[in-house]
């Protein structure tokens, strides 16, 4: 015996529902039941019940999970396309039914639907347009027709005050990505058959991975329209269809372009670990003697390699087995040209990483010298970039050295490496880190590895300059 009946993708007994578990919670004549039965049938025909995940919106269909014997997720108002995006990015072979009303999709959830459509997410969206907020009692929806009376437009919707009804299928069709956009209605016999066809196409597109499908369905709400079920269907035929034409706006099925997966292959644990550790080889050197934590502030302007100079110093200290912290100047001022970084090295764990009282100041331009010079500890050291700085220090309780860092870097054709000269000078003049470890750490600290040799030569030049010229205690004499 052959029968035509409701698909078994819907439960026959609604155990999740309280009260009568034989009938739905929908009002008599509601369009939701008609459409949800069609979706269930299509899921059954496509053989994807186990892969199907139904997204319930907020609205009358919030309880769709009472009925669907599929995976179910209840979503917050308007966000089903984002939730569906999340699901599909984890489970590309799932079949996600994104079921949304007009307040949900065209009102609060406009952002989510537009962007999911524009990304061409592999989703099938059913947009149930009954031109009203049903569950909350019948307020104006973005799709409410002009002059239509609702609880919040008691004198009718006015375009001057409320705007005109939103035609969502046309909006979605204006995007390039969607594979299928169609508007249907569950009004007449003819339209019911077309809707059933559209529902099947929309879901099959997802199974075939053809992209984003959007099916708007004009659906009756007899209760809020204050009509009988039959009158409400006539209202769709005679009134709604005038403003919301029923047609297929986009159908890319003939192109049959399966969306390509361009992602990188999934790394296993070993590959992941090597990606995360980078190509750094662990090195350790005998630690130089530092009797207490040392704070080094490197300051200048953007383009002098301030931050990478700090990174070089920090990597080098780390290679000595020291604890180290590196804290840059931060925020919009970075874009204003001022740059500084504070590196602290210590043989024990570092408490405050801030630049309160540096032991060493590497001042790479005049303003930064002025800004930081009085913060340097008594007995501390200031190394200035003598190419750019000839200011008076005005302190006799600190050691001062000058090195033409910018000139040397320019001569080596790597002007952004002026800080390398400064850091090398620090290594020669102090026991914070050794020049050897600086050289060994250079590769790991460079963003542009092709400049390794040039940087290495520059370090040698700086080292020679300091050792041969210097250990003179007044940079002004030198300059």
């Amino acid at each position: 015996m052959n029968t035509i009946e409701t698909s078994s993708v819907l439960y026959t007994h609604y155990e999740r529902k309280e009260g009568n578990q034989q009938t739905t919670h929908y009002c008599p004549g509601c369009g939701h039941g008609v459409i949800q039965k069609m979706i269930a049938s299509a899921i059954e025909e496509l053989g994807v019940q186990n892969r199907a995940i139904f997204l319930s919106p907020v609205g009358c269909s919030v309880f769709s999970y009472y009925y669907y014997d599929t995976g179910n997720i209840q979503c917050s108002h308007g966000r089903a396309p984002a939730v569906g995006t999340g699901v599909k990015r984890v489970l590309p072979d799932s079949v996600v039914v994104c079921y949304q009303g007009d307040g949900d999709l065209a009102g609060i959830g406009m952002t989510e639907i537009i962007h999911a459509a524009n990304r061409g997410e592999q989703l099938t969206v059913f947009f149930i347009n009954n031109a009203t907020y049903g569950m909350t009692g019948g307020q104006m929806a973005p799709t409410t027709l002009l002059h239509e009376k609702t609880l919040t437009t008691p004198f009718g919707r006015e375009s001057e005050r409320d705007g005109k009804p939103l035609a969502m299928a046309e909006v979605i069709a204006s995007l390039d990505a969607p594979a299928y956009v169609r508007r249907c209605a569950v009004s007449s016999t003819k339209e019911l058959l077309r809707t059933r066809e559209a529902v099947r196409i929309g879901l099959k597109n997802q199974v075939d991975k053809l992209g984003f499908s959007f099916i708007e369905i004009l659906s009756p709400c007899p209760t809020n329209w204050k009509m009988s079920a039959v009158e409400s269907r006539n209202h769709i035929e005679q009134v709604m269809k005038q403003f919301y034409p029923l047609k297929t706006f986009v159908d890319k099925r003939p192109e049959n372009v399966c969306i390509k997966n361009n992602s990188f292959p999934l790394m296993n644990d070993d590959e992941l670990l090597s990606l995360l550790t980078g190509d750094l080889t662990a090195r350790s050197f005998e630690s130089p003697v530092i009797d207490s934590p040392k704070t080094i502030t490197i300051a200048g302007f953007g383009g002098q390699g301030i931050l990478s100079g700090g990174t070089l110093l920090a990597n080098s200290a780390m290679a000595h087995g020291l604890d180290v912290s590196w804290l840059p100047s931060y925020g919009p001022e970075m874009r204003g040209g001022k740059a500084s970084v504070t590196v602290i090295v210590s043989d024990s764990s570092i408490p405050s990483p801030l630049d309160e009282k540096p032991d060493f100041l590497l001042a790479m331009n005049g303003p930064s010298l002025q800004y930081y010079k009085d913060k340097v500890k008594t007995g501390g050291t200031i190394i200035v970039n003598s190419t750019l700085v000839d200011d008076e220090i005005g302190r006799d309780d600190v050691n001062v050295y000058g090195i033409p860092a910018t000139a040397m870097a320019q001569e080596a054709l790597i002007p952004s490496a002026a800080s390398v000269v400064m850091v090398t000078s620090l290594a020669v003049l102090s026991e914070v880190v050794s020049v050897f470890s600086l050289k060994e750490s250079l590769n790991a600290s460079l963003k542009r590895r092709e400049l390794l040799d040039a940087n290495m030569d520059l370090m040698k030049t700086a080292e020679n300059y300091i050792t041969s010229n210097f250990l003179v205690n007044n940079y002004n004499k030198k300059v």
């Binding site: 009946e5 008599p28 949800q36």
Partner: protein, 79 residues
């Protein structure tokens, strides 16, 4: 055996959309009231059901209606 429309009167909410979609006038309003207070539809015995399934397709209530078809070589179909 003829095609036959069957209504589960306890599930029917009496919206009568099915009646308006039936091309053969097989459905009518019943004289009884179900336990939920709705007056369900019932079938007109003398009518000639062609087994098109439009009543099932148009019905908003799952499992309220089904059509049992006389034609045995057609596959079972859900609507």
């Amino acid at each position: 055996m003829k095609n036959l429309v069957k209504c589960d009167v306890q599930r029917c909410k009496g919206c009568y959309v099915c009646i308006s979609h039936c091309p053969k006038g097989c459905l009518t309003i019943d004289s009884s009231i179900n336990s939920q207070g709705y007056v369900p539809v019932s079938t007109v015995s003398e009518a000639d059901c062609i087994g098109c399934g439009m009543c099932v397709l148009s019905c908003p209530e799952p499992f309220a209606l089904k059509v049992i078809k006389e034609n045995k070589d057609r596959v079972c179909k859900s609507a």
